[in-house]
Amino acid sequence: MKLNKEIKGKIDNFFANITAEELYDISIRKYGFIEDNSVEVTCERFDSVKVEIYFSSFDESYNNNDDKERSFALAA
């Protein structure tokens, strides 16, 4: 399969005839697409970062991200 004129036409046609709301609804509800709710950082520059309290024990604190990765591995 190649992205030729015919295939492009079919894809263009589908998206031209569906509303964004309808597409969002079927994508999430029917096909299990996952919405990306991450926050977009538009400001790329920080003048200063304020650290109020630092505990060295935080270094070994429970890490949610690590745990999430482990869960994926166990679920595979």
Binding site: M1, L3, D12, A20, L23, Y31, G32, F33, I34, E35
Partner: protein
Amino acid sequence: MKVKIEGFHGTSLENAKSIILNDFKLSRGHKEWLGDGVYFFIDGISNNPSSQAEKWSIAHSWNKIEKKYSYKRYSVIKCNIEVDNNNFLDLTTSDGVEVLDYIIEHHTSKMKEIGKKIDYIDGFVINFARKEDIISIDIAKGNFYIKFTKERINQINRRTPNCTICSIYNPEKAIISKELLLTKEIN
């Protein structure tokens, strides 16, 4: 133009018997691979796909909760597959990737209209494209990293693909012949 593929499917002996007598049942929920379909190991990254199908049927038998094999006797089925090139989404080539990219580009810009962002997963996009009849896909092919027993025990998570697999969405149409290649028992 027709594309011919030799595919190897690993499963329990019981399932294999049913497949030979009846037909394949589509696996669902393979969101991270190529969507809902019947999966085969094929030539590509590895030149020994039958061995990968064997390793897969062993790994697949292991029940992590009960800590035992759910079946001891496993089989590999060899199939001759045929597909029209126009209905063959080959994601190991730039041609195939371009098609998927084009669909995602359209989807993304439509979502932007309502301020939404989607975390795109290939398997979901393929299911969506097929089932909404956007394009006709009979078979999709891709390279993936798949964990067999050794990789699972040692928790080896790599990004480099080790397998080429294909997913068939209409097995009755695409599978020309099938045979039970081997039956063995897990030690």
